[in-house]
């Protein structure tokens, strides 16, 4: 969603010394910017955002992700402000040795076997959404389809009303997009989310069920339950991390299929290609860019890195590096070798990666079953989100 703030930002004149991921050129098509930087200056810098680096090669992104001593996760978003202390939301904001115990609390509910239990409900959600617009012969797939799938699935996992999904989406928008430049909006959204979930946490502490909130309440770290603030922090994190991200990944995949009829037909004729196609969509259209804070001086790929700066850790740029992926800018739905970094590299690998894959697979399969023929509506523009999660926010399709 475009914001007024971006229009007043000074335009970028040199991407290697003055990059800005809120620039409209980046928002609309970042790939040529990254390709150019990767050739000329694989670790760019900007004085904006109080100082930040931008690695664009796979090797540099990987080296930074693995070096948890020099690069802290205490801040995971590049913003215009750096309030002290940063708001902890373990495990995403944790460094070793605190990271592992926090992450191990969250991993068991997200294994592939656990995700399989969600599949029937996820398929039903997709079909309920399609039922609402299929007769119209057209839709905005970002607003009427992709945005509702992850939020309803996670509401189902948390056992809260799926109809509260629109409220969740609003909070996430305020935190992930508006919050980059407006701390007040961010804090208000965090507070409202906490108030909303506090009632559920209290009720399920008294009478636990088998939902995800209860599982976090029942989890034990060193034999002790988590303090209520940490339980709330983990629930907030699950929502923030699990909604815009997969909404974006599903949307970009459908956008690709709308403009590439040959891939669409191939997936319909050869449904066995779905797993490699999903991985390729994740590589080519990876939605998530993370961040790190440099906490000690170091050298990455020959480039001196100074403490006190942030790093915009662009997994999407790493995924387009031709040194790692032959024909990196081409979407090859049966690509055989694909070590993409869409879910991160190293200890902070996305907890919800199995959930994201399930949602993407189900959303695309159900769509192709019901609407095998569709294309972009040339009369209405596709628009993209800005900030750290990239995906279509207006996706006008015509069916047939």
């Amino acid at each position: 969603m475009a914001q007024d703030t971006t229009r007043t930002r000074p335009p970028v004149t040199d991407w290697s010394t003055d990059w800005d991921h809120l620039d409209p050129n980046w928002r609309d098509n970042p790939y040529p910017i990254w390709d150019d930087l990767r050739e000329k200056c694989p670790i760019a810098h900007t004085k904006r955002f109080l100082g930040a680096y931008l690695p664009t090669s796979y090797a540099a992104v990987k080296a930074i992700a693995y070096d948890t001593k020099s690069f802290s996760s205490r801040r995971v978003v590049v913003r215009e402000v750096r309030p002290e202390p940063p708001m902890p939301s373990p495990p995403i904001s944790s460094d070793p040795p605190h990271h592992k115990p926090a992450k191990q609390l969250l991993l068991p509910p997200f294994t592939p076997d656990e995700m399989k239990k969600l599949e029937p409900r996820a398929r039903a959600i997709c079909n309920e959404l399609i039922d609402k617009f299929i007769a119209d012969g057209r839709c905005d797939a970002a607003q009427m389809y992709t945005r509702h799938i992850p939020v309803r699935v996670i509401a189902h996992m948390l056992d809260v009303p799926e109809s509260d999904g629109d409220q969740f989406i609003q909070w996430i928008h305020e935190i992930l997009e508006l919050g980059i430049t407006n701390d007040e909006i961010l804090m208000k959204a965090v507070h409202e989310m906490s108030m909303y979930f506090a009632g559920y946490v209290e009720a399920r502490t008294r009478k636990p069920g088998d939902d995800l909130i209860s599982r976090i309440i029942m989890a034990r770290q060193d034999g002790k339950p988590l303090p209520p603030q940490e339980v709330l922090g983990m629930i907030r994190l699950l929502l923030i991390a699990g909604i815009d991200t997969t909404w974006s990944a599903i949307g970009s995949s459908l956008w690709h299929l709308a403009k590439t009829p040959s891939d669409r037909q191939r997936l319909i004729d050869e449904p066995k290609l779905m797993p490699t196609a999903i991985e390729e969509f994740l590589r080519a259209y990876a939605p998530v860019t993370m961040a790190r804070e440099v906490v000690q001086d170091t050298v990455i790929e020959g480039c001196p890195i100074k403490a006190g700066n942030m790093v915009l850790l662009s997994f999407p740029a790493a995924n387009r590096d031709p040194a790692m992926f032959p024909e990196a800018n081409k979407v090859i739905i049966d690509r055989q070798e694909n070590r993409h970094s869409a879910f991160g590299l190293g200890i902070h690998r996305c907890v919800g990666s199995n959930l994201a894959r399930l949602e993407m697979t189900v959303a695309i399969e159900e769509w192709l079953k019901r609407i095998p023929e569709f294309r972009l509506d040339p009369a209405i523009p596709v628009t993209w989100s800005e900030g750290t999660v990239r995906g279509p926010r207006q996706l006008p399709f015509i069916f047939g």
Partner: protein, 71 residues
């Protein structure tokens, strides 16, 4: 056994981060623990009809945690 050679797979537990790519591509060769981290099944010996799956598992591990040992 393949042409007299024994081929084994092994997951380096220090490198594995639970991306689940090997399990998805070669379910007969890998198993997951309660946290979703992977380990080779049994002694990791790869039957001939699983060789392709084993190499695919290695080629798709983002952490380079899957090893193939030819003895």
């Amino acid at each position: 056994m393949t042409g007299g050679k024994v081929v084994r797979v092994r997951v380096d537990p220090e490198k594995c981060q639970g991306h689940n790519r090997c399990k998805a591509l070669a379910p007969a060769l890998f198993e997951l623990d309660e946290y979703g981290n992977s380990k080779e099944i049994g002694d990791g010996i790869v039957p001939e009809d699983q060789l392709e799956a084993a190499y695919l598992a290695r080629a798709n591990c983002p952490e380079m945690a899957v090893e193939i040992i030819e003895e």
